[in-house]
């Protein structure tokens, strides 16, 4: 019977997760609290919030576990800097500075910050934490687990056998041969910010044709049996957060795209070239993942596959894996990236301390709850109109039906980077004009990026070829709409004919389920455009403060639902 706190942090996507007596009690991203997107801090706020949610004091913790081995990481960094000398002195200086300032002492910092004895603070291997974060909350008793990311300490890719409460490594690849770093390099080449732009690259890929697979195959050699290798000639330096692609890559592909230049796929042949490169990178990555998944199928005699690591957030790839890798079921938990490592670390230690394996992940609502009363008070003080209508979802459905935007902030916040009905911005899904308004006036994203639909579980099969049903409740895969449904889904289908479907059940997301049902009752439409509750460049809303602030700042949004409290603008 143990209380274990897992921590991920100091690189990007810091998070904390709390497992008590084998149950996942709370999990939060630091960015939702410190309001810095992809926060790389030590997640003190998230840790304290998790403890508060469970009603326990830090002194009552049996263990605190960090999602990476600091010494092993430092060793690899030092070894690699020595090997690549004399290249990249600036990377050298920056990396070492980060190690010396914070990263080597992370276990001491955690002990001091949380007031937990140093003897109770430990670390676990990065990829093992990834594997644990997926397998141990999956619905499978036995599964193959594939972890793919930029790099942990040394490992970039691993195949595991998951059985009951154990994980056994079967295969791994080491730095610098990394799919995550390859994808990050092309992300940087295309002018996007690394660790934030990979999703943009994936969206851009759908607009291109894979004309550059040959060239990129020289950068990423795919071998037999899931093996692959990066050709170091195309990179100037390799650290875990900074990948310096070199002049050689530009000789191969043409000049890199400068950052922050507006995109024009319709009129710019250069931008179309980048789309083709993106598509080629996506194809190669998918092929690499398929190779690994097929190897996993052979190595591990299991019918189910779990995926984790940053690359698992590539939902276009997970769809291909679900269709072609030969597994009957595929599972990716919502926080598949580094934040998930916190959960994996906590579960690993809990198992070591004798607690049972957690139940399969039900609702992703593991964060802090909305205080609707406090939110109502705040909204009033900010000059907004507050009411408690008898049927708030009816009112919301009305607004949505006429093309308005409704912000929904209810219950506990989601685990993972996707809005899953607790911190969502909703609009009708069948109107591209409304979709464009959402983008232009609220999200400020590149026009080539699609929006995604939320659909009641009961309607998913009617509207989509619903594959990957273990993933759609968490928006970690894409599906194709049925021909007959295209009219209802015109605002939420990507140019390649897929949608990142969110399949909604009453058990997992009660408020959104009720709203979808009400919307269908009044309009006959069965889908809503569902995007995260945040403006451009900011993290998803966490508390009622963030939700009200978002509503106050974005005048294009017509209403905010804070649980059953309706916030609207007062007539001038």
């Amino acid at each position: 019977m143990a209380a274990v706190l897992g921590i991920s942090g100091l690189y990007h996507d810091a998070a904390a997760a709390l497992v008590v007596d084998g149950r996942v009690v709370a999990a939060m991203h630091e960015e939702r609290l410190d309001r810095v997107k992809h926060s790389a801090a030590l997640p003190e706020r998230a840790a304290r919030a998790c403890l508060a949610m469970a009603g326990i004091d830090a002194k009552a913790l049996d263990a605190v576990v960090f999602y990476e081995e600091p010494f092993a990481k430092f060793e690899r960094l030092l070894g690699w800097l020595v090997q690549t000398f004399p290249r990249a002195p600036s990377y050298f200086a920056r990396s070492l500075r980060q190690q010396l300032a914070k990263k080597l002492w992370v276990l001491d910092e955690l002990s001091e910050t949380l007031g937990v004895p140093r003897s109770k603070v430990s670390s676990r291997e990065h990829h093992l934490c990834h594997a644990a974060s997926a397998f141990f909350v999956s619905p499978f008793e036995e599964a193959a687990v594939l972890t793919v990311d930029g790099v942990g300490e040394h490992t970039t890719t691993a195949i595991w056998q998951g059985r009951g409460a154990t994980l056994e490594r079967r295969f791994s690849l080491e730095f610098p041969h990394s799919l995550g770093l390859f994808y990050a390099a092309i992300t940087a080449y295309t002018g996007f910010e690394v660790l934030d732009g990979e999703l943009k690259l994936m969206a851009l890929a759908a607009h291109g044709t894979p004309r550059y697979v040959g060239e990129l195959s020289r950068v990423l050699h795919l071998g037999a049996d899931g093996d692959f290798a990066l050709d170091a000639r195309y990179f100037d330096a390799f650290t875990d957060t900074e990948l310096g692609f070199g002049a050689e890559l530009e000789r191969l592909l043409g000049p890199a795209r400068p950052a922050n230049v507006p995109w024009d796929l319709a009129r710019s042949p250069d931008d179309r070239r980048y789309a083709d490169i993106a598509r080629s990178a996506q194809v190669l990555t998918e092929e690499a993942l398929l190779g690994l998944a097929r190897r996993a199928r052979r190595e591990v005699a299991a019918d189910a596959l779990c995926l984790a690591g940053g690359v698992a957030l590539n939902c276009t790839a997970t769809a291909r894996l679900a269709a072609e890798a030969g597994f009957s079921r595929v599972f990716v938990q919502p926080a598949a990236g580094d934040a998930g490592g916190a959960l994996g670390a906590a579960i690993l230690r809990a198992l070591e301390l004798g607690d049972p394996r957690p139940a399969p992940l039900g609702s992703p609502a593991l964060g802090q709850a909305i205080d609707a009363g406090a939110g109502a008070d705040l909204a009033e003080r900010l000059g907004l109109g507050v009411s408690r209508p008898p049927r708030p979802f009816e009112r919301a459905a009305e607004i949505l039906a006429r093309g308005g935007l409704v912000a929904l902030a209810t219950g506990r916040g989601e685990w993972g980077p996707r809005a899953l009905g607790f911190r969502s911005l909703l609009a009708r899904a069948d109107d591209t004009g409304v979709r464009d308004a959402v983008n232009r006036r609220v999200k400020g994203r590149e026009s080539f990026r699609p929006f995604a639909p939320s659909v009641l579980e009961a309607n998913a099969d009617a509207l989509f070829h619903h594959v990957g049903a273990d993933m759609t409740p968490f928006m970690t895969t894409v599906c194709r709409p049925r021909e007959s449904a295209l009219g209802e889904l015109s605002g939420v289908v990507h140019v390649d004919g897929t949608s990142r479907l969110h399949s909604v059940s009453k058990e997992r997301a009660p408020a959104l389920a009720e709203l979808l049902a009400e919307y269908e009752r009044s309009t006959g439409r069965r889908a809503l455009l569902d995007t995260s509750l945040n403006g451009a460049g900011e993290p998803i809303a966490g508390s009622e403060n963030d939700a009200v602030a978002f509503f106050a700042t974005h005048r294009a949004v017509d209403a905010l639902l804070l649980d059953d409290v309706l916030v609207e603008r007062r007539p001038r």
Binding site: F71, F74, E75, L78, V82, L96, R97, L100, W105, D108
Partner: protein
Amino acid sequence: MTDFALRVLRRARTSLALFGYFLKPDRFFLVPLVVVVLLAGALLAASAGLSRVAPFVYTLF
């Protein structure tokens, strides 16, 4: 003992552990480098804890 002294002591202990981690056959040759790097790290202690930009201070240059 002051908080600061305790912090230093804990990190000294971690440094020793790091040193020990490198005292293995295939890492052994990096040991002198580790020692030098740690000494350089001591210089960073003074600037710990401050954000890069001071809040509410508008610098001219």
